[in-house]
Symmetry: C2
Subunit: 556 residues, 2 copies
Amino acid sequence: MTTDIEIAQQAKIRPILEIAEKVGLTEADLELYGKYKAKIDMTKIHELAAQPDGKLILVTSINPTPAGEGKSTITIGLADALNRIGKKTVIALREPSLGPVMGIKGGATGGGYAQVLPMEDINLHFTGDMHAITTANNALAALLDNHLHQGNELNIDPRRIIWKRVVDLNDRALRHVIVGLGGPIQGVPREDGFDITVASEIMAILCLATDIDNLKERLGKIVVGYTYQKEPVTVADLQIEGALALLLKDAIKPNLVQTIEGTPAFVHGGPFANIAHGCNSIMASKLALKLGDYAVTEAGFGADLGGEKFLDIKVPHLKKAPDAVVVVATIRALKMHGGVKKDQLGLENVSAVTAGFANLKRHVENMQAYGLPVVVAINEFVTDTEAEFQQLETLCHQLGVTVKRAAVWANGGAGGLDLAEAVVAACETKEANYQRLYQDEATIAAKVTTIVQKIYGGKTVVFEKKALNQMKTFANLGWDRLPICMAKTQYSFSDDPTAIGAPVDFTVSIREFVPKLGAGFLVALTGDVMTMPGLPKKPAALKMDVDDQGNALGLF
Amino acid sequence: MTTDIEIAQQAKIRPILEIAEKVGLTEADLELYGKYKAKIDMTKIHELAAQPDGKLILVTSINPTPAGEGKSTITIGLADALNRIGKKTVIALREPSLGPVMGIKGGATGGGYAQVLPMEDINLHFTGDMHAITTANNALAALLDNHLHQGNELNIDPRRIIWKRVVDLNDRALRHVIVGLGGPIQGVPREDGFDITVASEIMAILCLATDIDNLKERLGKIVVGYTYQKEPVTVADLQIEGALALLLKDAIKPNLVQTIEGTPAFVHGGPFANIAHGCNSIMASKLALKLGDYAVTEAGFGADLGGEKFLDIKVPHLKKAPDAVVVVATIRALKMHGGVKKDQLGLENVSAVTAGFANLKRHVENMQAYGLPVVVAINEFVTDTEAEFQQLETLCHQLGVTVKRAAVWANGGAGGLDLAEAVVAACETKEANYQRLYQDEATIAAKVTTIVQKIYGGKTVVFEKKALNQMKTFANLGWDRLPICMAKTQYSFSDDPTAIGAPVDFTVSIREFVPKLGAGFLVALTGDVMTMPGLPKKPAALKMDVDDQGNALGLF
């Protein structure tokens, strides 16, 4: 079988200027990074702001399983298909993190004939955005520890610093560390920890900022810790928001690449949806909306995570709600949610499809509850049977939702024409009446409870002692009016990764909140979720290599 | 007064393709990073290998002082001047580290009208080489700690791991840390530490590698620690040299930029000369030699550090010795070496020039001892007096060395014509008979002692207990045949930063060796030298900013 990297390397990649010209961009609007990648010039971004928005399609999915769903693959294939049926379409995706690439996941650029190119570059250092974010995050940490060391004029309590360092790698040994050891000239000893870069507040800020001034303002609002009097200390107090913004001056500009079929794709910003807000940048989404009649974008993991955060956190800043939502599933994944083990997925099992449909159903109903038209997309696998799909179709019809098969992995845009027609029909015949799930004015507890009950289908929320105390403190500080960014396992509606399908009557535990004033939300940590992943016993890195001409090998 | 960044931003920068064409490179040979930066395609690099080398000019200096010397400024101005007198000249410089840029030093791209452009980009993330090196270094650390966590098949002793993590920042709080805390699922607790990226062995390897295969071979040889039986464990044992090389596949390609006057400049690789080998990459130097009739390059800090390492570590791999060496000084810096305080440097002081000349004299004699023609370059300051320069001229004539003033800061290449003529004369009329300082076959103790006595002018070397034990162990392992990379303060010939001028009769202490088998040398740590710098009380970052169009402010 041909692998993704082989398909990508055999694909005919076009100079990025050719792709840009399809949507009216000229050479002067581009800052080239090699022949096939470009950032968009800031002047052009400002200029396009006056253009009307196209239609916005949000691609989300069921809870992921080891069987695979292919949300990026569908996003890319759907956009290729929309272009094939005459709708000028532009993609907005997140950029991959090296952590999962080197760890277990491999690439994050779609699959088969629905990929963005050049996949090796996008999966490795790309245009350096991740590294700029890592550097800005760690420069802040170094300047903060230096402030402690040089006399601590702001009276910061080293025990109450909440700003962590980051690396764009899976590195469990850095989760809990002690820094500043070695004596008086080596800094001030304290407990610290590293997150993965995608969980950095600076990543969230970059993705939510509307321009450089807004970026700088948000950076200034970051709370890094508290004084001995428990007053919050911000980046503005340290007077370094200018330096941090300077480090991000290029990273903030969206990156243009192409699909195998030549559809323009902005790949920019990459927060994970389980431990962060899971959406690509506002600036990239805006560009896609300004340049395309249709903009297709995705949000991370299932609709309970990326989908909910897209609608409750990103949309108010984007000032544009989706015109339709595509919920991606596979027959195989539904069967896993229905109780089938991974090694049995090759066998037809209609009743397992019926059982697993409960997971899809809840996600579809959730998206409909936001007032949005929904289309279900089934990413085809060779093992799917006609009986299984017909059963799914029956169940979807009972639910009143359109379902379409898409063979974009095997056939690119040509495999997604039915899906594209259904999405266009949803946009043109159904009215989107976007309603947010909660109002910012609600209490923290009420907002969390609303998400747990209305989106997850849970019964109650238990706030652990630390979280309870924080809710009081945050209310006193006026931070209780911020939206909530849930940090939760992606595998289940609940906070227990083994509770697949559509669990009911469960309790979600909130152990701690992390205030992200620059991003403008409070992260709620549920269950055992970790903001720094680990590596598996046999990491993907073991298979990676490069030949003497610089060609990547073993990326998948 | 116009600042460096103002001069740089007002300069007329040319499309990099225009610069490339001056030395016969075409668009196909370039990988553009924006309009003004490019990496050179690997195919072209292989193709050029068959070309003859031009003349090689090494620019080095006296021991640096707070008065400033301007080695990069002279390197750039000299190359501009050589082009003005009809010699096709190409520059090879190191790329700056963000640590000093955000800390105390500011930019590292020359000064006044002798700068490389675009200075903001080069001083910030440039083409991402530093970040690729940081990532490869830390991926190795994560994979190593993961190996411990996942059963430790190689039987690595966590107490004997010598591979450190890095950040490209000054961050003293990371010098000594404990990682792996938090219980059984968070890795294996152990002592660890972070160096600055420029001190990473991977930086040294990137700079000494001749191609990707050689890079991979060197990466495989890195010793990361020892087993419980004290056997060395390498990257090849972990089977990840392919993944690390893949992360470096673009970083290994030299970066082409331009001077204000349009001279092509390769800016690539950036090890510090006090804690690493201090030279830009072999691949960049080779390109400069293949494309220019003259290649002008620099080595970090004084001739005791960068100069010695260029000649004893880099030349054997470059397979080309300098045709002439330029030793840079300023009248102000000589007066500081002669005992004048910084606030008194504006006053004429001929006798202090005479006293401080001892520092310059020793460096000149050292370079001559390698069999190389030497020219002294005085980087002019407005406070220099005619009497001071005449005294210096007299002293240089007594030493039998040509001395030229260069006003390249104020006038660019036009201010360096005399210097350029003198350098050409040295190359064309004097014969270089390069002789290395020591032979690899000498013992470790003998090599270190030779450097201390012949280059530093010291009397004896004291090897502390750990260093003594290591010399025995390393001899048993066959590592004693490697050259020595001294880690020593840049401010003095000795290991005491306050002993300026030309100290005699001093002792140098070696506290520890760090084996760098991939780079192919042993680092000898002297005195209190640290491989992770700290930030000052008022870091340069406090003045940095960016406007809403993305223009950098406060970089200097």
